[in-house]
Every structure is written in C-alpha cells, then in structure tokens.
C-alpha cells in the first residue's frame, strides 16, 4: 500500500462495516483514491452505492454502528482514520470544509450567519474578534453575496436557497481548509443557481488549490465540474479515471449502462439503454463481481470470488474483461 505523497487526500483500501444482529454489512468495500491539491474528484453512483458513506468515513462523521473496519486515510501527510473526538473535531473545519445537500439544515437557524462564520474563524484561526468579523465579511464577498456588510447580521431564513448554499460554502472555506467535501451540494437547487454554485466551487478550488471531493448523482455536474471521476457500485469502485475518458469512453459495463441511461441533451427521442434490475441489497451481495447479475457480458469468472478490484493507479475499471469487451 503505497501512499501518494503529493496528494492532499489519500484513501487506501477503506472498508466501512455496519454490524447488525444477523451479519456484518459492508457499505464501503476496499475503496482507494487520491485527490491532488486543486483537483476536483467526482464520486458518482446511484442511491445506496456508498458515495456518502465513503465521504462520511473520510471526515470521521460515521454514525454508530457504522465504523471504519480497516484501511488508511491520509490528509496532508497525516493519518487521520483513527482520530476520534476532539482531535477529529479540530481537524474538521480547520483542514476539512464541508458542504452538504440541504443548506437550511446545515446552518443554525437561531444564529445570524455572521455569528456562525465568526465562531468558526475564532475556533480554528488565531485572530482577534475584529479580524474575525472582517474575515467573515471578506468570505461572504468572495462567494458572491451582495451587500455583505449588511447581510452578515441576517438569519439563514432570510436568504434564498442559492444564497444559503453560498453562505455554507463561505463557512466551509473560512478556516482555509486544504480539503473540501461537497455532498450533493446542488441537488436541492434550480438549474440556473446550480450553475452559479458549480462555477463558484471551481473558481475557489483553483484559486486556493483546495482539493475537493464532489459527491453527486448528476452526470452533467460531473462532466462540467470535475477533473477525475470515481464510479461507485454496491460499495465498490467500479471505475476511476479522468472525467472526459470515463464519460466518453466508459470501460466498466456498469459505467457504460449508466452513461447509456442518461438522456443526452443532444439526442432525440430514441430509446434509452437500460440496465435491467436494481442494485443488490447490502445483505444479499452476490459472490464475485457485484454487478454480474445485471451484466450482459458476465462469464463464469465473474460469478466467483475473488471479485475484480480497482488497484489505485493500475487499472481504470474493476472488471476482468475490460480488454475483451472492446475487441
């Protein structure tokens, strides 16, 4: 397990387990990836694929009984997967910024946004109260909130959905973290506002060389915002590679199906390719490749353990027959 020393975030063979009375469920199964400074990694998959679970494991927000069973997570050269309680809390906010789907629930409705920004800045940076106030205003200006000086004393409900998400981004960035995790940041927003938020995230990430993990189910957002993309299926990485390559020339049968079932803006009314069936439940994962019951190319080897795996930097798709499928 060699870790990439240049990456901001390195995840190696991460396994998350949820023990239940009958068995142990494994929502994340040996997931490895790196995110370089200034890079946006997209994580895409359908509900239940383990994308949010992976994100929560990285930032130490798994709720019991889910826990990291094995694997390593390195942030800026420090191992963080075993951190708990106070040390982890100090790391979140300072080195890790978070943007979640619903901006209304991630802001405290009883405090003004200025209170929330100042609190975070004072907690993580060694600055005076006046300086914290100034930084809060600068932060709001940077994310494009008009009249930041006056708006800083407003409460979250006084903002629209798009503006609220900007406040959340300002909050995530105010302690100048080196890594941001954005879990479906635009799913609750309208298309035009979504475009604004995506442009904002990209600009800030480029200017500050922040590494971003962008979790979404929207292939369009993936195409426009990310540098590399990881496709997840049943808790495993199915494919990982540069966004353009994965989207235009997917290698894993699941990615191929996923791209085929996305209605193309340029196409007409022809039938969508569909993947028959549904993702298996975690308590009834098939042997071998988790995708084989739905895969039209499945052969004997796919039905048997061990399953194909994606080794970091060695192959792009977790499929035994990647080469054969395209002959």
């Amino acid at each position: 397990m060699n870790r990439n020393s240049e990456a901001t975030l390195s995840v190696r063979d991460l396994i998350v387990d949820i023990p239940t009375r009958h068995s142990v469920l494994r929502p994340v199964d040996r997931v490895s990836f790196d995110i370089a400074p200034g890079e946006i990694l997209g994580v895409v998959g359908e509900s239940g694929a383990g994308k949010s679970m992976t994100g929560n494991a990285v930032i130490g927000l798994l709720t019991r009984p889910a826990h990291i069973a094995s694997g390593e997570i390195w942030l800026n050269g420090d191992r963080i997967d075993h951190l708990q309680g106070e040390p982890m809390r100090r790391l979140r906010g300072k080195q890790i910024g978070m943007v979640f789907q619903d901006p209304l629930t991630s802001l405290n409705p009883l405090l003004t946004i200025g209170d929330q920004l100042r609190e975070t800045i004072l907690e993580h940076l060694d600055v005076s109260k006046d300086e914290a106030h100034q930084r809060a205003i600068d932060g709001l200006k940077e994310v494009g909130i008009p009249a930041a000086e006056e708006r800083i004393d407003a409460y979250p409900h006084q903002f629209s959905g798009g503006m609220r998400q900007r406040v959340v981004i300002a909050l995530a960035l105010c302690a100048e973290p080196s890594f941001i995790i954005a879990d479906e940041p635009t799913t609750a927003l309208d298309v035009s506002v979504q475009a604004q938020i995506i442009a904002l995230l990209r600009r800030l990430c480029r200017e500050r060389q922040t590494a971003v993990m962008l979790i979404t189910h929207d292939m369009g957002v993936i195409a426009e915002a990310t540098d590399r993309v990881a496709v997840m299926y049943a808790g495993r990485l199915a494919e990982l590679g540069p966004t353009k390559d994965v989207l235009t020339d997917p290698k894993h049968p699941y990615s191929i199906g996923l791209m085929g079932s996305t209605p193309l803006a340029s196409a007409g009314k022809e039938r969508l390719t569909q993947i028959e069936g549904a993702m298996p439940r975690l308590d009834s994962l098939p042997d071998g490749c988790a995708f084989h019951p739905r895969c039209e190319h499945a052969r004997e080897r796919c039905r048997q353990n061990p399953e194909p795996r994606l080794e970091a930097y060695q192959n792009r798709a977790a499929c035994w027959f990647v080469e054969d499928l395209y002959l």
């Binding site: 475009a195 957002v221 426009e224 079932s261 996305t262 803006a265 007409g268 969508l272």
Partner: protein
Amino acid sequence: MSILVAVRNLTRIFDVSKPWLNRLIERRDKALLTAVNKVDFEIEERTVYGLVGESGSGKSTIGKIIVGLLPPSAGAVEIEGVDLYREEDDAKVDAVRSDIQMIFQDPYASLNPRWKVASIITEPVAARGGDTTDMAEKLLEQVGLSARDAGKYPHEFSGGQRQRICIARALASEPRLIVCDEPTSALDVSVQAQVLNLMSDLQDEFGLTYLFISHDLTVVRHMADKVGVLYLGQLVEEADRDTLFDAPLHPYTQMLLEAAPKLDGFGREATPPEGEIPDPINPPSGCVFHPRCPIAVERCKVDPPELRGVGKTRVACHLAETSRD
C-alpha cells in the same frame, strides 16, 4: 389531430396573507401570490407536452388545475371540449374526469402504505363500481412487474418499482390523458431510464396523451413533442421540441439551456446566469424577466410582452426577433 386539452388564459392566485389580526397589528396588506398568470396552450391528442420551469414557476399548479385538484381563479381548462369547472351537466364532467389520471413525483408518498398493491391499482375502477377481476395482475405485468406482486404492500418495493405501481394505477381506468408531475425526479438514472422507456412504450400501446412536467431539460427533451417554458407563472416560450432546443428565442430559455449541465461540457467555463427567481408576491414590472435579462431595454421595464408567434415558436419577448444575435 384533435385537441385534447385546451388551457385558456389560465390564472391561479393564492392568498398567502397572514391572519387578519396579524395584518391589523402589523399594518400589512393582503399578500397575493400569482402562481399561474394567463397561461394559454393546447395539447394535441397522442402527443407529449412538456412543461419546464424552475421551482416556483407554477408548473405543478397547472398540472393540479388540469386534473381538477385545484380550481382556477380565472380562465379555463377544457378537456375534450368540456370545461370541468363550469360545465353544469354532471354526467359530462364525470365522463371527462375518468379520462384523466395523474402520476406524482414521490412514489413513497403517493401509495397508501396500508393497502395491498391490488387494491391500490384497482381503486380508480372500483370507486366507479367497475369490474376489477384480474385487473391488477394484468396491469402489473404490463408495467414490468409480476402478477404475484398484487398481494404485496408498497413497502416491499423499491422506488422504481413503486413508480411502476403508480403507472399501473394511472392506467387502470383506461385514461386518455395522464398528467405526470416530475415522475422520475426521485429516481436514480438507471431506474429513470427504465421508467421513461416504459412510459414511451405505454404511450404507443394505448394511444395516451401526456402532460409531462419536469425541471429537467434533458428528460423533457427526451420525452416531449412540444415544450412550454414557464417563468414566474407565465408561459414565456412554446415550440415543438427541436425548434425550442435548437433555436430558443426567449432570453430565459436561452439562459436555462446554457446553464443546464451538459454531459459533453468538460471543463466548460460558461458565465453562470445572474440572479435568482424574484419574489412572486411582488413580481417585477413589465416583463417579469427583465431584471435578469441580458438584452433588456427600457420598454421591457414597463410593457409586459404578450405571447406571439415568431416563426414556428410562440414567445413572450419584445426582442424575440433579435434575441438570437
């Protein structure tokens, strides 16, 4: 082809005022929200009409008025030539009503958890005293489920399967028009593809007409024959699919198409649109889009544009002739 649905000058105003005592103490006026403002369009039989718009544009309200869940404040909806709200003859209204069905967005909320699937599916027919023998089993197979599923409860199904049950229920009374309000928004892409394909197949098989309401431009482009774009309760542009998507005339439609994420838009550095949808209680004067419009002129601030024909498109913009330059 004949016109199945005619929406004429449809307006719906909601009273969103505070209670009268609050208004008295706080010295506030009544607050009226115009959710749908003089919307006018027709749906031809056996076609799919797509309504797109962002949240608050009034698309769901129009859907609800058409199926009869909400009365209009002004204007009318005529289905098969019958105005459901003014027609005196109950028998006529009843006959039209049974030709309309609806599919909702959230298949978790639109199925009664205490009913078996068979009762859910046959309800539209049973409520009218029709014969429901073997009906649920047949419909379940038509929507790609198994006849054995009839005895199960909704919680035993996944989101996509539940939406299939909703479709089966909508088909039970052999309707001519199905209003689909965001039917695939709650579903994953691969499941969405299954449901959209199913809906297309059923349309061919039963000669259905769909009013397809969605915020997702790519889905509407995939499904619709004709598309209407709503902004703040007003129909700002309407054209057949290819005309609308290839040559949008209204600046809002252009903005919406530009802002939608594209699958081939790798590292696209488009300038994101300015501003957000304004407060519908105090909409802007003149053309409601003028504060965000890149080509607005003085006239747009005072003179609300009417929907008019420009080429094959109907568009509500003073500058429609030049907006594409």
